[in-house]
Structure formats: structure tokens, C-alpha cells
């Protein structure tokens, strides 16, 4: 049959051998596992830089004295801006998706690699380029930008607005634009891989939840970064070609009217948050997937409401595109539109509530082991609840009048995005480290790491809600004014700073543990956690082609733990169909 013949020729295979030279094997590798580790390492470097910056401004706030400031006001804002940008883009977007996603998505669905290995490599190198561009902003004349991670114009659009708005801001936009390209390429790869490369028997509803999360995250990235790219492009044009997309008429700087005319600062905010809200879910969805996976494994139970979890992920992703206006209630946007955005925002609480219920349901009647991975997963659930609760305040347009741009918002998004996502990364690391490096991480250090971090972050961010209630505006580098010099505030700043030091320094334990265990940790077997998904049927670490020449065939749902009548307390997805007693299979 000629048609079949055609297709066959198309799929004629180029056999890729494992490269032997160092540079092709570890640097310019197209192997998804190497790229995943590269992403992960990039995130480790970024997190060290980003958290160091945060300690700098925390120290500044704790020791604040108008006569002897630790950071000058402009340095403060530069450090703040870079902290936010580095952590949001280079850590929370790269580690869970680029790092774990790259490494484990193909393995969990039974593929040998991503769909486009070379594009995959390109995506990593673009990300690295973007990171370097961003860091370069520190070293150009004028220094890093001061306009916050949101970079609102006109502040970010006009160099003369304030010191430090020169090349640093341009590099910042450039870095974001490169990052958009990298994410676009990466997203295409993830989507195609998930839909096209699943092993025999791996139906969509048999994918482990992290795969679903990575998939939906990639869809979000595909659609949202495109808009940020356009927004950034226009910002560059405003900055350097003298256009005025974001600059209205009659703006005055240096006591002089600028020539710009006709733009609107709100246009940028719409474009930014159309990206920005999906972006926060890009940061958290993979975490939700990873945590679900770990909770099921260490409760020895099927995930509670697998399908509901999948639909919740999809719903969060979908609704997430229609709520961006909740960042703009006070922006001067039409107040009618604000009402619509507010109502839509509240509906996103529903899938979030479902996820929480199902996590609790997964623990219910389980057989729970609290190792480091599980502790971080449990911590994630607690943090997600705490951070989601403040979302219920902020999502109400009337209530947000008071809270917008105060420390309350800072506390909200740090708990739910910053810290919860970090917890999922830590959980994933303790969980997958044996697979990635063939060795275990040290459990005792892991627990110390967990407890210092858990107590530390809550002690940082719960008080910040109070400061927000008190009316402390965010992004303030000093407290000269009467209100903030009230003794309550400096006391809180001191306490928060102390806790922040504990929480951040605790990460050193993690990093030491990580690198020590890479070489000296106890050797791990193939499936140390008795987990069911496909990454555990192969060697630790997996071979170049993942499954050592065997094509996995999937016969079971992903979380078949404690099946009554089965011989073990778990059934691997690839176990033969007979592994599960007939009555246990297939119901939901």
C-alpha cells in the first residue's frame, strides 16, 4: 500500500549513538536527562543568587537607620527587582518544568527522549543566555533596574524617571524576551512529547499527575509568553525608538513636558498580567503534580480522585487565562471589568479547593511514611492552604482596595508561589535524587532542612500578613515616615529578618547534602520507594536511552497502591495485567 510506504519512509530512523566526548555528552547534549540536570543546576545557581539578594534587603530593613542605610534607596530597589525577576523566571519557571519536567516527562510516559532533542538543547541555552543577560544588568552603567519584577511603565519606559533606569532596564527586557523564546521552544517540545510519544498503553488518563501538570503548564507557557514577548517588544520600542505605546501625552520629567503622546500605561499592565497570572500557575502546577505523586507513594494509596485532579489542573490552567485583571483592580481599569474579573477569580478557588480535598483524601486511611520527600510534600499542602486563603481576600475587588500593594500581597504570593513551589522542588529532589544520581540523599540532613525551612518560612510570612493589615506598603526601602516608625513595624521587620536568615541559611544544608550525596550517598536500587511509575522500572540513573532497549508497555493506572489481593503493596504501571486481581482493576 503506497500510503503506508510513504509514512514509513518518513519515520525512517536516524540512530543516535550516545556521544562519548565530554562536550557532547555533558555540555551540548541533546539527552533530555542531561538537559534536565542543566536546567536544575541553573536554578540552583539562580536560587543562591536570588536568596542572597533577599538577605541583603532583609538586613537593610532590620537595621534601618536613615543616617546609615545598609543599601541606598536605589540599590535597595535594584536588589529587590533582581530578586523577584531571578526567582520567578530563573528558578520557579525553570526548575520544576525545565528541570524535573525534562528529566522525568519522557521517562514517565515511556519515551526515549523529548520529541525535538535539539530544540530542547536550544531552549536550555537560550535560558542560560537570558539568565546571563539578566545578571549583566548589575554591571552596566546605572546598574540594575529599579522598577520591580513587574516593570510597569512609564517608570520602566523612560530612562530619566529615576536613577538606575538606563541599560539595566533594557537588559532586563531583553532577558525576558529571550526567556520567552526559550519557553516557547520548550513548551512546544513538552506538548508534542506528551501527545505523541507515549508508550504503548499509556493513555492520557494513565499518565502520572506530574505529566499532566507539565503538559498543562506547557500549554500555559505556549500561550502566555507570546503575549509577554509582544509587551516586552513594545517596551523596548518605547525605550529606544521613542515610540509611545505606554506613555500618554503630558508626562513631565525634569520639569519638562515629554514629547510622547497617545499611549497608555494600562496597556502594558494588561499585556503583562495576561502573561503574569498564567505564569504564577506555571510556577505552581508542576509542584502540584509532583506533590500528588509523592503523597500517593508515601501514603501507599491511589491518589484520591485522580480524574478530579486532572480536571482541576485543566480548569486552573483554563480559568487562569481570564483572571489577570485581579492584579489591576486599583489600576484605573474600568470598574465594571473589575467586577467580572473578581467573580472569575473566585471561581479559580474551586479547583484549588478540590486539589486540597483530594490531597487530604489521599492521606486518609493511608500508611504514611514521613521521610524528607514526604515532609516537603506535606509542607506544600499546608503552605498551599495558607497562601490560598489570602487569595480569597485579594480576589474580592472591594477588599483588595485595602490590601493591594501592601505586605499582605507579598505574604500571599510568597507563601503560595515562592515557598510552596520551592517545597515542591525540594520534595521532588529528595524523591528523584536516587533516580537521577543513583544515590540517596542524607535523610537526617533532609529532615533538619525541612524543619528549619518550614518553621522559618512561616515565621517570615505570617507576620507579613499582619504588616499588610497594618497598612505597610510594599517596595518601601525606608521607614522615615511617622506611621512606619511606630515601634511595631521595626520589631516586625527584625523578627522577619531573623526568620528569613534561618530559612535561607537552611538551604545551605540542602545544597551541601545535594553535592555530598552525589558522590558519597548510599547507592540506590532501581525502585527504592516502591513507586509505580515508569521511571522506577529502569536503572538508577537511567541509561542513555532510558529503558535499556526495552519498550515499556503500560497495563495499569498510575497509582495502584495497596490493591487488595495483589502480591505486593504496589503494582507497577508496566506489570502484566494479571498483577492486579480482576475485581480491583479499572474502577474509579
Amino acid at each position: 500500500m503506497s500510503v503506508a510506504h510513504e509514512v514509513d519512509e518518513e519515520h525512517e530512523v536516524h540512530v543516535h549513538q550516545e556521544p562519548t566526548q565530554f562536550i557532547w555528552k555533558y555540555v551540548f547534549s541533546t539527552d533530555h536527562k542531561v538537559i534536565g540536570k542543566q536546567y536544575y543546576m541553573l536554578a540552583v545557581v539562580a536560587v543562591v543568587i536570588g536568596l542572597t539578594l533577599s538577605l541583603m534587603f532583609r538586613w537593610h530593613l532590620a537595621t534601618y537607620d536613615p543616617q546609615h542605610m545598609f543599601l541606598s534607596p536605589d540599590t535597595y530597589l535594584q536588589v529587590l527587582t533582581m530578586h523577584g525577576t531571578i526567582l520567578v523566571f530563573m528558578v520557579l519557571t525553570t526548575a520544576p518544568l525545565g528541570g524535573f519536567g525534562n528529566y522525568f516527562l519522557p521517562i514517565q510516559i515511556g519515551a526515549v527522549d523529548m520529541a525535538f532533542p535539539r530544540l530542547n538543547m536550544l531552549s536550555f541555552w537560550l535560558t542560560l543566555l537570558s539568565f546571563i543577560t539578566l545578571l549583566a544588568a548589575f554591571f552596566v552603567p546605572g546598574g540594575a533596574p529599579v522598577s520591580g519584577w513587574t516593570g510597569y511603565p512609564p517608570l520602566s519606559a523612560i530612562n530619566s524617571t529615576t536613577e538606575g533606569m538606563g541599560w539595566g532596564q533594557t537588559l532586563w527586557v531583553g532577558s525576558i524576551a529571550i526567556f520567552c523564546l526559550a519557553s516557547l521552544v520548550g513548551a512546544i517540545n513538552f506538548i508534542v512529547t506528551t501527545l505523541d510519544l507515549r508508550a504503548r498503553g499509556m493513555t492520557l488518563l494513565r499518565m502520572p499527575l506530574p505529566c499532566w501538570a507539565w503538559f498543562v503548564t506547557a500549554v500555559l507557557a505556549l500561550l502566555s509568553f507570546a503575549v509577554l514577548f509582544a509587551g516586552g517588544l513594545l517596551l523596548i520600542l518605547d525605550r529606544h525608538l521613542g515610540t509611545s505605546f505606554y506613555i500618554p501625552a503630558g508626562v513631565i520629567f525634569g520639569a519638562k513636558e515629554l514629547n510622547h503622546k497617545g499611549g497608555s500605561p494600562l496597556l502594558y499592565q494588561h499585556l503583562f498580567w495576561f502573561f503574569g497570572h498564567p505564569e504564577v500557575y506555571i510556577a505552581i502546577l508542576p509542584g502540584m503534580g509532583i506533590v500528588s505523586h509523592i503523597l500517593a507513594t508515601f501514603s501507599r494509596k491511589p491518589i484520591f480522585g485522580y480524574k478530579a485532579m486532572v480536571y482541576a489542573i485543566i480548569a486552573i490552567g483554563g480559568i487562569g487565562f481570564f483572571v489577570w485583571g485581579h492584579h489591576m483592580f486599583q489600576s484605573g481599569m474600568s470598574p465594571y471589568v473589575a467586577v467580572a474579573f473578581s467573580l472569575l477569580t473566585m471561581t479559580i478557588g474551586v479547583p484549588s479547593a478540590i486539589k486540597t480535598f483530594n490531597w487530604l483524601g489521599t492521606l486518609w486511611m493511608g500508611n504514611i511514611t514521613c521521610n524528607s520527600a514526604m515532609l516537603f510534600a506535606l509542607g506544600f499542602v499546608s503552605l498551599f492552604v495558607s497562601g490560598g486563603i489570602s487569595g480569597i481576600f485579594l480576589g474580592q475587588n472591594a477588599v483588595d482596595i485595602y490590601f493591594h500593594d501592601t505586605y499582605f500581597v507579598v505574604a500571599h504570593f510568597h507563601l503560595i508561589m515562592g515557598v510552596a513551589a520551592m517545597f515542591s522542588i525540594a520534595a521532588g529532589t529528595y524523591f528523584w535524587f536516587p533516580k537521577m544520581y543513583g544515590r540517596f540523599m542524607n535523610e537526617s540532613l533532609g529532615k533538619v532542612h525541612f524543619w528549619l525551612t518550614f518553621v522559618g518560612v512561616y515565621s517570615v510570612f505570617i507576620p507579613m500578613h499582619l504588616m499588610g493589615l497594618w497598612g505597610h506598603p510594599r517596595r518601601y526601602s525606608g521607614m522615615e515616615n511617622a506611621f512606619l516608625s511606630n515601634p511595631f513595624i521595626p520589631a516586625m521587620h527584625n523578627m522577619v529578618t531573623a526568620a528569613a536568615f534561618v530559612a535561607v541559611l537552611a538551604q545551605l544544608i540542602f545544597i551541601c547534602n545535594f553535592f555530598y550525596s552525589m558522590f558519597k550517598g548510599p547507592v540506590a536500587p532501581e525502585n527504592p520507594w516502591n513507586c509505580t511509575s515508569l521511571e522506577w522500572i529502569t536503572t538508577s540513573p537511567p541509561k542513555f536511552d532510558n529503558f535499556g532497549g526495552v519498550e515499556p508497555v503500560v497495563n495499569h493506572d498510575p497509582y495502584e497502591y495497596s490493591v487488595p489481593g495483589a502480591s505486593k503493596d504496589y503494582i507497577m504501571q508496566t506489570d502484566p495485567p494479571e498483577a492486579a486481581p480482576a475485581h480491583a482493576v479499572g474502577h474509579d
Binding site: 519515551a111 504503548r200 497617545g262
Partner: protein
């Protein structure tokens, strides 16, 4: 299963010859057989579609920004006189014809005629090149004729109209230029026996997309700002 099917490949769907190919074991029962491409699309084609989705969003955002500022600015200049419209119409024509040659290229590629296919790809690239040249020429003229005086009168600030004009057309030109490189590279290697018909088809997809974008840019940016005497 042959050795090769489990190697990572540039071709996405190396493993598991899809169900229905004859030599693959038929999937059993209700267990889905794996390796089947959804929508019957090749991975590369699917990837290109995703790129197109994302890229059209970028263009949509740009055109949205354009409409936004245009609506916010009551006196919007309409500087394009007949000569300019003539030129841009020619450009449109050139670009459209290049889509046609691309169709031919894909057709020849599917008929396994490598030389002919690569010839038509080259023709397409030539069309793209002509477009870029015409467009740059026009840009230069416009800059002399309108932008420099306007800037001089305005203390160096590019008026809104020109800002959107250069943003939108520049972004499009960037796509055409990248496309020309893409096509030339493809044509040369395709002739030399590398790549598959599907690669030509994917390139075609890209090219038609770039054309399609122009069909939005042209009326929105040019025709709506025609000088009517």
C-alpha cells in the same frame, strides 16, 4: 522491535510504528496502543502548528496594541499615498506568489522529486527576498520622507503612527527574513538528499503563516492609513 526504534531521534515518533502499519502488533482490548499520533499529524508538523498558535498570539497582541493606541488617538495620520500603496500592493503580490511556489514545492517533494522540490523552495525564498528588499527600500523612503521631518519637529520622538508601523511591519519582516534563511538552508540540503518531504511541508506551513500574517498587517496598517486626496 528493531534496535533502532528505541533510539532517540530527531524524528519525534521514532518508536512504535503506529497501529495500522501492518507490522506493529495490534493493540489489545481497550488498552490504547501507544505511539499513535493524535490528529494524524507528524510531530514536526504538530510542533510547527503550536509555534504558529503561539506566534499568532504575539502578532495578535501587537495588533491589539496598535488598535488600542489608534483608538485612543483621534487624529491618526494617514500618510500612505498612491506610490506607497502601489509598492505595498506589489509586495503583497510577491508574497502571495511565493506561497504558490511553496505549494508547488510541497507537491514535488511529496512526489519524491527532490530537484524540483528544491527548485521551488528556492523560488519561494527568492520571493521572500524580493519582499524584504522591496520592504526595506520602502522603509528607507518612508524614513526620509516622513519620519525624519517628524522627528526633527518633535524633539526626536517617533510619532505613534510610525511606532506601530515599524513595530508591526518590522516584526513581520523579521519573520520573512528568518524564513528566507530557513528555506535556502532547506533547499540546499534537500537537494543533497537530506530531510524528508515532511520537512518541506513543515517549512510550507511556516511560510503560509507568515503570508497570512501579512494579510492582516497590510490592511490594518497600510490600507487603513491611506491618504485620500
Amino acid at each position: 522491535m528493531s534496535e533502532a526504534t528505541i533510539q532517540p531521534t530527531e524524528h519525534a515518533a521514532a518508536p512504535a510504528p503506529a497501529a495500522g502499519h501492518g507490522h506493529a502488533p495490534a493493540p489489545t482490548g481497550d488498552v490504547w496502543g501507544g505511539g499513535v499520533r493524535p490528529y494524524g499529524a507528524h510531530s514536526k508538523k504538530f510542533g510547527m502548528w503550536l509555534f504558529i498558535v503561539s506566534d499568532s498570539i504575539t502578532f495578535a497582541a501587537l495588533l491589539f496594541a496598535y488598535s488600542f493606541v489608534r483608538m485612543a488617538n483621534l487624529e491618526w495620520p494617514t500618510p500612505f499615498h498612491a506610490a506607497s500603496i502601489l509598492k505595498s500592493t506589489t509586495m503583497t503580490f510577491v508574497l502571495l506568489s511565493s506561497s504558490l511556489t511553496m505549494v508547488l514545492a510541497v507537491d514535488r517533494a511529496n512526489k519524491k522529486q527532490r530537484d524540483k522540490a528544491s527548485f521551488w523552495i528556492m523560488m519561494t525564498a527568492l520571493g521572500g527576498l524580493a519582499f524584504v528588499v522591496l520592504h526595506s527600500w520602502e522603509w528607507i523612503e518612508l524614513i526620509h520622507e516622513w519620519v525624519q521631518p517628524a522627528k526633527a519637529a518633535n524633539g526626536g520622538v517617533l510619532p505613534m503612527m510610525w511606532g506601530t508601523f515599524f513595530a508591526a511591519t518590522g516584526m513581520h519582516m523579521l519573520h520573512v527574513t528568518a524564513g528566507v534563511f530557513y528555506l535556502v538552508g532547506l533547499a540546499l540540503q534537500y537537494k543533497g538528499g537530506k530531510f524528508k518531504p515532511i520537512d518541506v511541508e513543515v517549512a510550507g506551513l511556516y511560510w503560509h503563516f507568515v503570508d497570512l500574517v501579512w494579510m492582516f498587517v497590510f490592511p490594518l496598517i497600510y490600507l487603513m492609513s491611506t491618504k485620500i486626496e
